[in-house]
């Protein structure tokens, strides 16, 4: 005989625990519990049967997986929380008594919680960490520009936090530039979306990391946004991102964190303020790495990598810089660019001239050096701007465009101002494209340009080129010239999605579509006119015949009737044709959309109808549901298409 099961000892009753019970079990306050949940990634569950999970009560409650809570019991953070609580008490006491020395001592020995164990625990593999990097990067981007007290009188965001966020984002971008990992850029009304393809491990897997950077404006912060929660998330995200960056930099054989050039930082340089330092193969002790990395240091992969890079560099002849003597090559090849980037070319020169000095490779040189990972084909697709030098006009966001252009191999110049470019002819001569986001009349442009060959484009051109992976035409009529009417900016992720819109392909197609529509419209008009006159004198047989003109028997029937009525055969034929057209016109527009497949589709549909009779009720309902959602999607697409047609028609009329 089976063992008698007791109530509440297995299944949902045991698997789930309400929040109140969890709090009681953990003996912590709600706010601590929340913080733990955020950091540990514990979330409430929706049990299939709430009543069973709540031991028979139907009171509303949020349920947690009870094993999650059991694991929380042994969380080192919990102990840290308690430590902090006692610390806070002691400090308050010391302050209250005016024992300043004691307070100072306490403050120095303040318990600090570290989250690195959580990173490994939540993301056992690097791939998982990358897959969950979208939210962290987006939040970091938001905090990068947040004021100290976003909601006045409430939780403050310490300056260090904002600074660290900015640093992490910049480091991430530097990495993306160096490895040419950027794939997509989308300018939305919310901000700029970027997508990077990040290598996730040895087997060549990649993870797409997408993040959203807000426009550079002051953020409006609603008063009910709880910054304590956001800051807790940020704590975790900062830790996660820094570890991910460490791994990425280590894979690129770079020292992490990259050194900050204090001078450049003070000058307000964005991404360029970091000095990327390669880890010398024997100088591991100098590089700030852990012991664990030492063994990893010279793996098979690294050896392979270095061999490949050597081969690569030897294969690349003229245009490519060679790693070994990149300094000299770089300076010879494009001194102006170098000058623009780092503002201390003279120093570099002196360094280079002194071979005993053996300078560390700088950020710029490393950036321009070809990435050792990734094959040449990819490189070509992702370095489409490599022959170009862009001048960013001051109204364009250098934060966005410097990153995008450099990630695709281009060079960027931002100084001096547009009017004074002529004063530095070397710089001016190297420029190929000017990114301008304001209307400018041709004469001014010509005056500025002089005899140089500059291409004037609006920023969207860069984004569109990036998304198409080709350099798009940018001359007059393309719409990308300053003051031109820009072509629509389309999301690069649309092809991953549901509906494709062929009319977005080329203008020609769209025009053809319009022409076709017009013809149809004319047809329709004619038909409706005739139809209204004809339908009055239709018999039922005629109507039936008109509805399915392929059905011979129906037609025959109608013919017989007409004969009985005494109408001529020719007249009858005419009438029938009119009736058929009228029937078509009266049919709903959705069927009109699929006119090409109408006759075949109709019988097929009828057949399908009959087969559905034999479905069970359950399947019938499911089928219906599916059809409903499919229909919704189709209708949405249809709606867009019809709107598009209407717009085209209107435009055409306006042109006439």
């Amino acid at each position: 005989m089976a063992k008698i099961k007791k109530r509440g000892e297995s299944g949902a009753a045991k698997n789930y625990i309400t929040r109140t019970q969890a709090l009681k079990k953990l003996q912590i306050s709600l706010s601590d519990f929340r913080r733990l949940c955020i950091l540990k990634g514990i979330y409430p569950r929706e049990p299939t049967n709430k009543k069973k999970a709540n031991k028979g009560s139907s009171a509303p409650a949020s349920f947690y997986y009870s094993k999650d809570i059991l694991y929380l019991l042994h969380e080192p953070l919990l102990a840290k929380f308690r430590e902090h609580k006692t610390f806070a008490k002691k400090l308050a006491r010391a302050l209250g008594r005016g024992e300043w020395a004691l307070a100072k001592g306490l403050e120095e020995r303040k318990p600090l919680a570290r989250l690195d164990h959580l990173v490994k625990e939540r993301y056992p593999t690097f791939k998982q960490a990358l897959a969950d990097l979208n939210d962290p990067l987006s939040l970091l981007c938001l905090f990068e520009r947040l004021p100290r007290d976003p909601v006045p009188g409430k939780t403050q965001v310490p300056h260090e936090v904002t600074a660290e966020c900015g640093k992490l984002v910049a480091e991430w971008k530097v990495w993306a530039i160096r490895t040419h990992a950027l794939r997509k850029v989308f300018l939305s009304i919310k901000g700029v979306y970027y997508e990077c393809e990040v290598p996730a491990g040895r087997s060549g897997e990649t993870v797409n990391v997408r993040w959203l950077e807000p426009w550079e404006f002051k953020q409006t912060v609603p008063a009910d946004v709880d910054f304590r929660i956001l800051l807790t998330f940020l704590d975790l995200y900062r830790t996660l991102t820094s570890f991910v960056l460490f791994k990425l930099y280590a894979d690129e054989n770079l020292v992490y964190p990259p050194e900050l050039d204090v001078k450049l930082d003070a000058e307000g340089e964005g991404i360029g303020r970091f000095k990327l330092v390669e880890r010398a193969p024997d100088a591991t002790a100098a590089a700030p790495t852990v012991e664990g990395d030492k063994e990893r240091k010279i793996t098979k992969k690294d050896v392979k990598k270095s061999i490949r890079s050597i081969a690569h560099s030897s294969a690349a002849t003229g245009g490519m810089q060679v790693d070994e003597d990149e300094e000299d090559a770089l300076i010879k090849d494009e001194p102006s660019a170098e000058e623009e980037f780092t503002y201390h070319p003279s120093k570099n020169e002196t360094d280079a001239s002194d071979p005993s000095n053996a300078p560390l490779p700088t950020y710029t040189s490393l950036l321009t050096a070809p990435s050792s990972s990734g094959n040449s084909h990819d490189d070509k697709a992702y370095t489409i701007f490599s022959p170009y030098t862009f001048y960013l006009s001051r109204e364009t966001s250098s934060r966005t465009w410097e990153f995008v252009i450099r990630a695709f191999g281009g060079k960027v110049i931002t100084h001096p101002s547009l009017n004074q470019l002529s004063t530095t002819p070397e710089t001016a001569n190297s420029i190929t494209h000017i990114l301008l986001d304001r209307p400018m009349d041709a004469s001014t442009m010509r005056a500025l340009q002089g005899d140089r060959k500059w291409t004037w484009v609006q920023p969207q051109w860069v984004a569109d080129c990036v998304n198409r992976r080709t350099v798009l035409p940018s001359g007059e009529g393309s719409g990308y010239e300053p003051g031109g009417v820009l072509p629509p900016h389309v999301s690069p992720w649309d092809e991953e999605g549901r509906d494709d819109r062929p009319w977005l392909g080329t203008e020609a197609q769209a025009a053809a579509g319009v022409a076709q529509d017009e013809e149809e419209d004319e047809d329709e008009e004619m038909q409706t006119e005739e139809g209204t006159t004809a339908t009055a004198e239709m018999t039922s047989a005629m109507r039936a015949a008109a509805e399915n003109p392929d059905d011979e028997t129906l037609v025959h029937q109608a013919e017989l009737e007409a004969e009985a009525a005494g109408t001529d055969h020719a007249v009858f034929r005419k009438q029938l044709a009119v009736a058929v057209r009228a029937a078509k016109a009266s049919a709903p527009s959705s069927s009109k959309a699929s006119t090409s497949t109408a006759p075949a589709g109709k019988t097929a549909a009828a057949e399908e109808d009959l087969r559905k009779i034999m479905m069970t009720g359950k399947k019938q309902r499911l089928y219906e549901k599916m059809q409903y959602s499919n229909n919704e999607r189709r209708q949405e697409a249809d709606k867009l298409a019809s709107k598009r047609q209407a717009i085209e028609k209107r435009k055409k009329k306006a042109a006439k």
Binding site: I38, Y43, S62, R210, P214, G497, K643
Partner: protein, 878 residues
């Protein structure tokens, strides 16, 4: 010492009283031992005849009661008693003196040993209590030997009282001026004065129990043997047993229980305590006369001890206590309620010292610890040598390091692991410069604005900016990020199985209708009825040549099947024709038609061949000729109400083909023939228990097969080849065996109201149509529940029918459509029937909510005849 030995038994008997007498001197302040003594005396007095004992008792009593008034007297009298007295007293005196001397010299701490010794001595010396003697006397005078002994013993009272006489008055006063409780302490504290008393008291208390040896005495039980007998342990003053005044151990029971007995209870050893003699009036008087103090016996200063049943003299002290209690004063005479406060801590000079302890401050309190100093110096040395660096930060882990390696493995998949869904990528709608069709028009904008925030499909309004510099900041950015964060840790997660299948895969795989031809696909012939009167019923004759229809104008028409021409008509003039049905016998041509209350048997004789006409006529008329009865027939021969009346129409009517009229109760709604064409059954729903009738044409007989029908019968049918009869009530179909006259099966249709029924020509399958839009297919071999229930009509089903030759069946409904199905029945029992929907025939118009009312298959061809509420009968052919 013979007397001693002889005394052992009585001594042990009176042992309990010993302490009392012994304790007397030491506890003289408390009245109770004194009382005891006096009690003893009282008891002694009557039992003893001789003077001496009486006197002794009295003296003793007086001695105690009066507070050692007459020690000398007692001595004198005892002197008279016994010569041994001298020796005894002498020894005891010497002892005492010795004791006193020592006491004076030695510290009180040594007392105990000494007392022990004294106790021993004392015991050895003698059993010198009057109590023992008294006890002995009380227990019986039989033994003369003992008498002597007792007298000897009684004389030894003196030594115990003797020391009292030696005490100074001060000591006595001091002793009496303390509370009994304090006694001991005071004796201890008073180095000199209290000593002898204590010693005295203790000598009484401490028995020879400490010897641990006892005395060897001849055994009472074994002759010549010796047994060790221990002395009683005398309880000390503080012990419970010493304060125990109640020597009667009967406990808290009414003393009256002992009224009839010579004793009044038992002592600790279980011996009887004999009732003390109550002297009569003479005795009392004599007592008064002889004892000047005895007036008190009857005075109010006595009280009765109920347990020991005697008057107890209250001492002055006790009386004083009583008086105090009566005056609501403190019973303790020495209590001073107005004592002077001694200001120990607040008095002059003591203000701040708080001398809780007078112990001097130990040295260690103010001398620095050597060991601590050593420890500190050790640390100092370490710091100097640099082994300890104060406030050195702990070795920290680096802020970032490589936590992922190449051989990390993901956690194994778990059902409860639900990672948060990622935010889907942005669509073109979100673009700052989307194609124009994405922008909202006025209607959409209004709708978006009116919708609740949660209901919106998009959380923003699409906008188009002509240049990037015109794009404003997005004002919900922080809010959206915050909500995402909230979702990540607050939103309950669950696994939803998303069925990612092609909806077409749900549709069953069936053979194409094209492969299952022939079946009717279109309307070939229409048979129009004048005035569009509803055609309720239709039927095709057995040869497939004629179509009969019955319409609501009461006319039965016969049409030529092929060309739709009306060839015959009978006006039945009985309201709407409810049913028409051709006889299935091909050799005959009989049409049955039902109107309210009548069933007509018609034969269009002019249309048929003479041979067929002949057989038809014969069949119809034989019964008229054979029996005179053109009247009733009742199978049971019961004379009452006839089931039906067979009437022969007039000559004229017969010429027009109306051959027989059967008059029945109610309105027959259905006529159905047996396959041989002799029997036919009718159903009249409104005819109570006569609703189902089976008529036999050859005999003109009618019978009602059911005495009582369960539920109202809707339809009946004959089995195609078995003598079975199907009866469909509103919800069930019952199958009866007509031969065995029993119910075979009840089919649970699951329908609400059956409208029609047909049986497959092979007889194992059945279709049932219902007004609740459903059609059930029953496989009679399979189950009593439907094999398939199909619901495809939008309105009530009116008629269902199987084709007799082709694997087809059809259903007609009020929605104006006829569904044609392919229904193959396999001979293999394991294979289920195959049902394939083939075609929907539409053509009948819906009039007043009624569509197709009846349908019949052509007997040989795949053609269908249907009649509709629009006054049309249609032939559907392939």
């Amino acid at each position: 010492m013979p007397p001693k030995r002889s005394q052992t038994a009585p001594r042990s008997a009176g042992s309990k009283r010993n302490p009392a007498s012994k304790a007397t001197p030491s506890t003289a302040v408390s009245g109770k031992p004194a009382v005891k003594r006096s009690r003893d005396d009282d008891r002694d007095a009557p039992s003893h005849g001789d003077e001496v004992s009486l006197f002794a008792g009295k003296i003793n009593g007086g001695d105690n009661g009066k507070g050692k008034k007459s020690a000398v007297t007692a001595e004198v009298e005892e002197d008279e008693d016994d010569e041994e007295f001298e020796i005894d007293t002498g020894s005891s005196n010497g002892d005492l003196e010795d004791f006193l001397d020592r006491d004076a010299l030695e510290s009180p701490a040594d007392d105990e040993d000494e007392e022990d010794e004294e106790g021993d001595d004392d015991d050895e010396e003698g059993y010198n209590t009057s109590d023992i003697e008294a006890m002995e006397n009380a227990s019986g005078d039989e033994q003369d030997d003992f008498d002597d002994a007792s007298s000897v013993a009684s004389s030894s009272i003196a030594p115990s009282t003797m020391p009292d006489s030696n005490l100074t008055l001060d000591q006595l006063i001091a002793r009496h001026s303390y509370k009994p409780d304090e006694n001991f302490d005071i004796h201890v504290s008073q180095a000199t004065g209290g000593r002898p008393l204590v010693g005295d008291a203790l000598t009484g208390k401490f028995s020879n129990a400490k010897e641990g040896t006892g005395k060897l005495v001849p055994s009472k039980f074994v002759k010549g043997a010796m047994m060790r007998e221990y002395d009683d342990i005398e309880a000390g003053y503080g012990s419970e047993s010493s304060t125990e005044e109640n020597t009667n151990t009967i406990g808290n029971v009414p003393i009256e229980w002992y009224d009839d007995l010579p004793h009044i209870g038992y002592d600790v050893s279980g011996r009887k305590i004999m009732r003390p003699a109550k002297g009569d009036e003479l005795d009392k008087f004599l007592a008064t006369v002889e004892d000047p103090d005895s007036w008190q016996v009857l005075s109010p200063t006595t009280a009765e001890d109920k347990l020991l049943q005697k008057q107890v003299q209250l001492s002055d002290k006790e009386l004083d206590i009583i008086r105090r209690l009566q005056n609501a004063e403190n019973p303790d005479a020495d209590f001073d309620p107005y004592q002077e406060t001694i200001e120990w801590f607040t008095g002059k000079g003591n203000e701040m010292t708080m001398p809780l302890s007078a112990a001097p401050e130990p040295k260690r309190r103010f001398v620095p610890s050597k060991w601590e100093h050593k420890k500190v110096m050790k640390i100092v040395k370490a710091i100097r040598e640099g082994r300890i660096v104060p406030n050195r930060p702990a070795a920290e882990k680096p802020k970032v390091y490589g936590i992922w390696s190449n051989d990390d493995v993901e956690n194994p998949p778990h059902a409860m692991y639900m990672p948060a869904p990622q935010i889907p990528p942005p669509r073109t709608v979100e673009s700052y410069n989307p194609p124009e069709e994405y922008l909202f028009d006025e209607g959409e904008k209004r709708e978006w604005e009116q919708q609740e925030k949660e209901d919106r499909k998009l959380d923003f309004m699409p906008q188009k900016h002509d240049a990037l510099r015109h794009v404003p900041g997005y004002e919900n950015f922080v809010q959206e990020r915050f909500e995402r964060c909230l979702d990540l840790y607050l939103a309950p997660r669950t696994r939803k199985v998303k069925l990612n299948i092609d909806p077409e895969s749900l549709v069953p795989k069936l053979p194409s209708p094209k492969e299952l031809r022939p079946f009717p696909t279109n309307c070939a012939v229409q048979y129009r009825h004048p005035a569009n009167s509803r055609v309720r019923c239709v039927s095709v004759d057995a040869r497939g040549e004629w179509v009969a229809s019955g319409s609501e104008d009461g006319i039965v028409r016969v049409w030529d099947l092929g060309n739709g021409r009306e060839v015959w008509r009978w006006n039945l003039k009985g309201g709407p024709v409810q049913a028409v049905e051709w006889s299935p016998n091909k050799e005959e041509c009989i049409l049955s038609a039902a109107v309210a209350g009548r069933i007509y048997l018609l034969a269009p004789l002019a249309l048929i061949s003479p041979h067929v006409a002949q057989t038809t006529l014969t069949h119809l008329n034989t019964a008229f000729s054979s029996s005179s009865a053109s009247s009733t027939n009742n199978i049971s021969g019961k004379p009452q109400v006839p089931d039906a009346k067979w009437v022969r129409p007039s000559e004229d009517e017969r010429d027009r083909g109306m051959m027989v009229i059967v008059e029945v109760q109610g309105t027959p709604k259905q006529v159905t023939w047996h396959r041989k064409g002799d029997y036919f059954a009718t159903v009249a729903v409104d005819a109570a228990n006569k609703s189902v009738l089976i008529h036999q044409l050859s005999k003109h007989q009618t019978q009602s097969p059911f005495k009582r029908t369960k539920g109202s019968v809707q339809r009946v049918a004959f089995h195609p080849h078995k003598p079975h009869f199907f009866v469909a009530t509103q919800r069930y179909v019952r199958i009866y065996d007509l031969v065995g006259q029993q119910l075979l099966k009840t089919l649970m249709t699951g329908l609400k109201w059956i409208s029609s029924m047909d049986i497959h020509p092979l007889g194992d399958n059945l279709i049932v149509g219902s007004y609740d839009k459903k059609l059930c297919w029953f496989d009679l071999d399979l189950s009593t529940k439907p094999y398939k229930t199909l619901r495809y009509h939008t309105k009530a089903l009116r008629s269902v029918a199987y084709h007799r030759a082709y694997p087809l069946f059809a259903s007609a409904s009020d929605d104006g459509s006829i569904h044609i199905f392919h229904g193959t029945v396999y001979t293999d029992l394991m294979q289920n029937p195959l049902i394939v929907p083939l075609k929907v025939l539409r053509g009948h118009q819906i009039k007043d909510g009624l569509g197709v009312l009846d349908l019949r298959w052509h007997p040989t061809k795949p053609w269908l005849i249907s009649s509709g509420a629009d006054g049309e009968v249609r032939l559907w052919s392939s």
